[in-house]
Every structure is written in structure tokens, then in C-alpha cells.
Symmetry: C3
Subunit: 224 residues, 3 copies
């Protein structure tokens, strides 16, 4: 090769490497964005959570879709009257098993995460809350992300709450009902804390089970 | 340096950077391969799991070694008659604490992971299964991986189940026996679901404890 | 651009890419350093843990600060007389939700991690230990790291134990006291296993709650 050709080849290689490093940085940015969300959830830091969303971001929770930052804010807004660390409220959200895939143009991404959480109120807490006793919860997120001005934000936070179990009973004998929250029956503004839209399908929950669809193909066979 | 020397130096640097980016991509591919395996395990998606293995891959489980895709398939094949999400079956596999090391030639790799799982049957499920009640389980994987045609596959899935505990009892008072599974006493085909080989050492289990050997040296001292 | 200018531009790009790849490698080194610490903790491998620290590293635990490798060694030194895997001692430390940030000069770094652990003694164990029954524990690490001779080491291991709960009671009815350990009242050498320094603020613990300060700004707004 002539020096000019060598330089042209190097430029192409460096460009491609820059893209690859960028994808790896994107993955790290997105997985930690979600983990930070998890730490905020622990302590009911709702303003910080709303700020993780894009302006047109949305939240899927139970059978409801909350649209835009306004909808997201309404959903988290005044959860049980708790904001910030509160005496006798345990709410540890363990987020793990991250699978993040970035689109070729590096402008959008998808992420799957598992959450396992312990929620409850200590018996020494005098003020009543809407949080019932102590329970375990498990679920799966399948989220969308968008990069705006170089910053990754949540485009769609899609939480699939799959099971809850009272600590005293365990998942083998848990009540066949949701704890602490209920599927939505009305939209906003009829329900002042309701979603903008109800999902067409009914909310399914333990002991019903289902597969939260994977955003990715099989890693070896490539089958969807 | 002359321009030629400059170009030669740049080429070497770009080559080395390409290798380093490749290793980082390998680590991400392998850790998500394992996490995807975990999500498949949740829902008893055994064909998808078998497809994660290399043709000559193997699975170590309890005191048995299952060889080749055929052996792996036999091991997962008809587990308790369950396949896919099933009413009243909870089987959440939390995979975490990934430590992946890629060989210098980027053709093989090793990975350590922890698993913590909750397994059980809801009391409302009418059909009987072989799954007893509700229990916790903990264990450590020390796996081998191989890259074939640019795709990372499982070469050896080595699960070290270290403890189980009935939900009602906890690990302080758990039965001194395995739940749901038993160490193998015969190989295939004498045991139609048995392993191809029995490990020479007997299966050890809580309240016995042992160290699952680390595939890596100490990160600071370098001692094995 | 002239060939010389092209080469100069490429050199700058390659240098920047080398830095970026280095940061990604640092993150991976530090998160696995912490995860390896977690696996060592499972099995009470205290000499291996002490070796993860820089010579002037320190450990924050409860209301105590242990200084230098000597202090760290004293703190872990003879914990409950257990060293290595021990019959009937379960001590699984689940480490997850890693958020690692590397300083621009790549010489120091900060890391936040969550831990969730199960600790206890099986009833079949005859020898008495100082470990009471069986319990859950949750906490958050906010650590500092330093790179010495190219090797990342722990500069400050800062564990914020936030809750414990006896297995039989759960976090809703847990005793309002620490299990297994107690806040320090005296420093070394007055307390032969005591810290070098007591923190000015008293130790806070479940059902008290508080926010372990984040080492990072909000990922979208940039607010501290």
C-alpha cells in the first residue's frame, strides 16, 4: 500500500474502533442509569427518578401506561405520602442481570433487568402507611432508552411485576392478590393518579406465570 | 520518526487497541450469555438452553457430568414434565457477581457467577409436580466458554449447588438433604436420565461447606 | 490535510481511544475486584481480603475507621474464630448493582455496590460460634480505589450496614439491635479489636433509615 492508502485504511479502522468503544460506553451508561434508578427507588427519591426520563418518556406499570414526564410524575408523584428515607420503611430494590443492546446508530437502546425486592414497615413505626406488613417481590424490566444530546435517558420504563409474597407465607402460600397496589380501572383524569392509557390485555400475576418477551434473539442460534 | 515509521507505529497501536476492544466485547458477550441462560432457566426453556452449548459442551451438576449436546439435552430434557411458563411454578434464578476472564487468544474464556434462587409451587396449583413446597437455593458457577465462528458458546456449565433451605425453616434448620434432586448413583443408559460419568468425589452439600475453586489469581498479589 | 497532518490527527485519535479503552478496563477491573472480595467474604478468607487493600487503605465499618493494612487486618483478623469454609456456617454475600467511576487521570476511582446477605449457623453444628441463629442483612458500599503500579486496590472500603432481620421475624418485626456485631465504644489499643478512630456521628441502623450519599451526580440533570 502507498502511505496514502495506509492512512486511509488506518482512518477507517480508527473510525470503526471509535464506534465500538462508544457502544461499550453506552452499555455501561445505560446499565448504571438503571442501577441508579434502583438506588433512588430504595429511598423514594421520586423527583430524581422523573428526571431520568426523556421528555416524551413513558412508564408501564401493572396494566397502565403513563405518558410523558407529566404522566411519570403523576405515577410516582405522591406514593403513599413517603418521600426520601423514612423511619421504619424498608424498600430495598435489588437490580441485576443486565442485558443491554444498543442500536447500530447508537441513538436508542433496549435493556432487560431483573429486580428482587424486600418491602415493609417495621412494627415500631407509629404512623400508618399504605404499605402492608412485609413482603418479597420479583419482576422483570424490559426498557427502551434514547440518547438526547449525548445523554442516555429512559424512553420507556416497562416493569413487569411477576410475583409478591407476604414474608410470613412465602410464594407457596401467598395471597392471590397484589399487595400495596392494584390494577388500574380508570384513566386520568377520572382517576387523579391513574394512567393515560389502559393496556388492552388484563394484568397477569402470580400464581399466573408468563414470559416477559425478550428484546434480543437467542445468542447462539439467532432465533427470535 | 519518518512518516513510514509513524504509520507503522500507528498500525501496531490500532491492532493492539482492536484486541483490547475485542476482549471487552467478549466479556460483555459472555456475561450476558450467562444472564440469558438465567432468564431461560426461570421459565424452563430447555431447548433454548441446550442451544447455548457448543457441540462438545458439557454440564456438571451435582456429582454427574453430562457430555455433548446430547447429554445436556438428556439432563434438562424432561425436567419434572414442565416446559415453559407454568401456572403456580415459581423458579426465579438471580444470577450476579460475574467474573469473566478471556484467554489471550480470545478463543476460550472462564466465568464465575453466583446464583440465588427461589423455587416452589403455589398451593392453588392442582396438578402435582415433583417440586417440593417452597425453598431457597444458593450456588456458584465456574464455567468454560469457547468461541466458534465468532460466537461464544458454553463449553462447560459447572454448577455447584451449595445450599437449599425450605422457606418455612431457613438455612439454620433446613433438612440435611437435597430438595427436588438427588445425587446420581448410576450413569446413562442404566439410569435413562443419568449422567455420562460420575465424578470421583462424593457430592458435598450444606451444612457441609467448601470453596468452589477460583479460576483466577488474587487480583492484587497474583497468587493462585 | 497533508499526510503529516493526517498522521498527527490519527495519533491524537488513537491516544484518546487508548484512554477510553483504559477507562473501560479500569471499570471492569474494579467491579470484579469488589465481586472477588464478595466471594472471599463468603468463606471468611481474611488474608486474601486484607491483600486487596493498598498499604494505606482503610475500612469503615459501623462507627469505626480501621487504618492501614494493619488496621484492616485487626478488623478482619480473628472474626469469630472462623477462617475458611466451615461446617454449618452459611455466609453468602450477594454483591450487585455496581456503579464505578474512574477519575480523569485514571489513578483513583469510586464505586457503589449493594450487598444482600444471608448469614447463619445450621442447627447440626455442635461447636458454638458468636453467630446468632439465621438472619438477612442488607447494605450499601461506597468505596474508594487507587491504582498502584497498574494494579487497582482498595483505598477505602466503606460498608454501610443498613438493616438486619432474624429469619424467623423478617424486617417488619426484627429486633431493634445489631446482630453478631456492635457499634464500637473504644479505639485500639484500649479495645484490642477496636478501630483506630471512631466516627463523630453515632451509628444509625434499621428501623432508622438514611441515604448513603451517592459519589456521582444525577446521570441526566448532572445535579449532585
Amino acid at each position: 500500500m502507498t502511505p496514502d492508502e495506509e492512512i486511509a485504511a488506518l482512518k477507517a479502522q480508527v473510525e470503526e474502533l471509535t464506534r465500538r468503544a462508544g457502544v461499550l460506553e453506552d452499555i455501561q451508561a445505560i446499565r448504571t442509569l438503571h442501577f441508579k434508578y434502583g438506588y433512588y427507588m430504595d429511598k423514594w427519591l421520586f423527583p430524581e427518578i422523573v428526571d431520568l426520563f426523556a421528555e416524551d418518556g413513558e412508564m408501564h406499570f401493572l396494566n397502565g401506561i403513563f405518558k410523558g414526564k407529566k404522566g411519570v410524575k403523576r405515577m410516582f408523584g405522591d406514593g403513599f405520602g413517603i418521600a426520601g428515607p423514612t423511619y421504619g420503611v424498608l424498600s430495598d430494590h435489588l437490580h441485576l442481570q443486565d442485558i443491554v443492546d444498543v442500536a447500530p446508530d447508537r441513538m436508542t437502546a433496549k435493556g432487560r433487568f431483573r429486580v428482587f425486592l424486600m418491602m415493609g414497615i417495621h412494627e415500631s413505626k407509629k404512623e400508618s402507611t399504605g404499605i402492608p406488613g412485609q413482603f418479597w417481590e420479583g419482576g422483570v424490566y424490559e426498557n427502551l432508552y434514547v440518547r438526547e444530546n449525548g445523554v442516555w435517558k429512559i424512553k420507556q420504563l416497562n416493569y413487569n411485576l411477576t410475583w409478591q409474597a407476604e414474608y410470613e407465607k412465602g410464594w407457596g402460600h401467598s395471597a392471590v392478590k397484589l399487595l400495596m397496589v392494584s390494577p388500574f380501572t380508570k384513566t386520568y383524569p377520572e382517576d387523579p393518579r391513574g394512567p393515560d392509557e389502559l393496556k388492552p390485555e388484563p394484568f397477569r400475576f402470580w400464581p399466573e406465570t408468563y414470559l416477559v418477551p425478550f428484546h434480543y434473539s437467542h445468542p447462539v442460534t439467532g432465533k427470535p
